[in-house]
Amino acid sequence: MTAPVMKPTRDGFGEGLLELGKTNPKVVALSGDLADSTRAIWFQKAYPDRYIEIGIAEQNLIGTAAGLALAGKIPFACSFSAFITGRSWEQIRVAICYQNLNVKIAGSHGGLSVGADGATAEALEEFTIMRSLPNLTVLVPCDVVEARKATLAAAEHVGPVFIRLGRAPVPVVTAAEEPFVIGQASRRRDGKDLTIIACGIMVAAADAAAAQLAGEGTQARVLNMATIKPIDRTAVIAAAQETGAIVTVEEHTVVGGLGGAVAEVVVQDQPVPMRFVGTQDTFGVSGDPAELLKAFHLTADDIVQAAHEVLKIKQSAASNQQSATRRRPR
């Protein structure tokens, strides 16, 4: 078997933005001294007149992007995910979301896989704090191919969008011809025993976990949830109804992220047992990305273990149901 192609999702963003430069004259880009890291530099070099350097000032970065959108531009504001979502959350709330402006926010270096830079740069909270904002669409592409498509889709979508991107090279797991639709989960594998709902760079691990489970005779459905908000309710409810157990997987805190978004649907519409794979309410540390994913229990093995746990609950619930039926008086 040949090794998969490895590329960071930020490269797909950079490619998409560069394409948009050519196809959409309204698209402009801004960054806070991170054009290179976010790959906005590719756009900057090709379209210098449509790039604005803001310097290390994320609040003004977001505010300026809002002003550009008021004037009819489609601005892409680019920085590290931790800074652009955290430091300027309130600017995103008031200037962008409250006014429902057509601003695209690109946060690179999301998740633990930033690696050696350590906790301050490792964003693990963006889904939670971004999805709580009305009007905002939250995207997290799983590979470089999907990142390019998500970037094009974000420009097409009228309204604010946040895209979470990564720095570490990750396996390419989607094909260029696969459609990308905001708000729609894509089913990567079908199964009847449980559903693994993954996002971002954890989709590859979810695939591997499903293959491992298949070897044990367990058939897992795998969904790539590239849109955290609006969550694909239909796909989540179908997963709950048809497979009866769900494991969510994200390179992000389990507090209010993908797991939370899925659970909000499940507990209201089709309660089934769930397990959340993600960081457990903690900050990151320095390390090699692969080591970190292991240290924070974000591997295929961890997903398999969560699957075993959730299946156990599902089965014991089913047998309780049976014995309750047997005990029922005639």
């Binding site: 007149d49 604005i52 310097g55 003004n60 300026t64 002003g67 008021l70 004037a71 531009k73 200037a95």
Partner: protein
């Protein structure tokens, strides 16, 4: 310096006596609105009346019948708590029915306690979270520059307490860096904020020197002298190569003796008897 951006005044200079009567009338309207609402910010609304008159009756290129006119100048109110003054001005200029003013801060009213974008028409941005407006003004000014539009100008009105927000200085730095000479910031320097004198809460002086250090052209005026207001707006429009800030020295609560220079009138609406006394003073 040859001024190739010297924009002709939007309209001929209005009669100063008429503007003075207008200022009194608008102040009465603001106080009635706040009294009906039962809450709001009289001090900060009353201090910026002459500046809004200078903009909406003189300097701005705008059309109340076409609030979204593509060639209009932009006025962004950053000190959102002063919005009763903006609402009163927009209504008087014909942007919307004056009867709406009585609905300020009520459920279902377009006149929110702090402005919501385009609600009512003429309100360009949401505000109320202090310190954000100048960044938006920068963005709009940068877009106009990108598009090669040398006609339209962008104005942003800030409070003096407001500029304690760090984002204001990020934006000030960027506007100076990008030589946004079609941008004019106005500081309604009424020298009081919610809990007391600005200089006591967190000193911001010397204002002009600070903005000058950020590469802004500075003009300092008595913000209640209508002629100085008109002159400052004219001067700002002729400056090339740098943005202009007008430090407009004003009196919080201007026009009502018992509100003037009193921080406690920052966020309290007048009760019926207080309104009556205030209206008598402004008769």
């Amino acid at each position: 310096m040859e001024a190739n951006v010297a924009v002709a005044p939007a309209s001929p200079r209005p009669d100063l006596a008429e503007l003075s009567a207008l200022a009194k009338s608008l102040r009465r309207e603001i106080l009635v609105m706040l009294s009906q609402a039962g809450s709001g910010h009289p001090g900060a609304s009353l201090s910026m009346v002459e500046m809004l008159i200078g903009l909406y009756w003189y300097k701005l290129r705008h059309d109340p019948k076409r609030p979204d006119w593509a060639q209009r100048d932009l006025f962004l109110l950053s000190k959102g708590h002063g919005c009763p003054a903006l609402y009163a001005v927009l209504a008087r200029r014909g942007y919307f029915d004056r009867a709406l003013l009585a609905t300020l801060r009520k459920l279902g009213s377009p006149l929110q306690g702090h402005p919501q974008q385009w609600s009512p028409p003429g309100v360009e941005i949401a505000a109320g979270s202090l310190g954000q407006g100048l960044s938006l003004a920068n963005g709009w000014a940068l877009a106009l520059k990108m598009d090669g539009d040398a006609q339209r100008r962008v104005y942003c009105l800030l409070g003096d307490g407001e500029i304690q927000e760090g984002q204001v200085w990020e934006a000030a730095m960027a506007a100076g860096h990008y030589h946004l000479d079609h941008l004019c910031a106005i500081i309604d320097a009424n020298s009081l904020q919610q809990n007391g004198p600005v200089q006591q809460i967190m000193g911001i002086e010397p204002l002009a020197a600070k903005w000058s250090a950020f590469n802004w052209h500075t003009i300092e005026i008595d913000g209640h002298n209508q002629e100085q207001v008109l002159n400052a707006l004219d001067e700002a429009a002729t400056v090339q190569g740098q943005p202009t800030v007008i430090v407009s020295r004003t009196v919080k609560g201007k026009g009502v003796s018992f509100m003037e220079n009193r921080a406690e009138w920052h966020g309290v609406a007048p009760k019926p008897d207080e309104l009556e006394r205030a209206l008598k003073e402004l008769a």
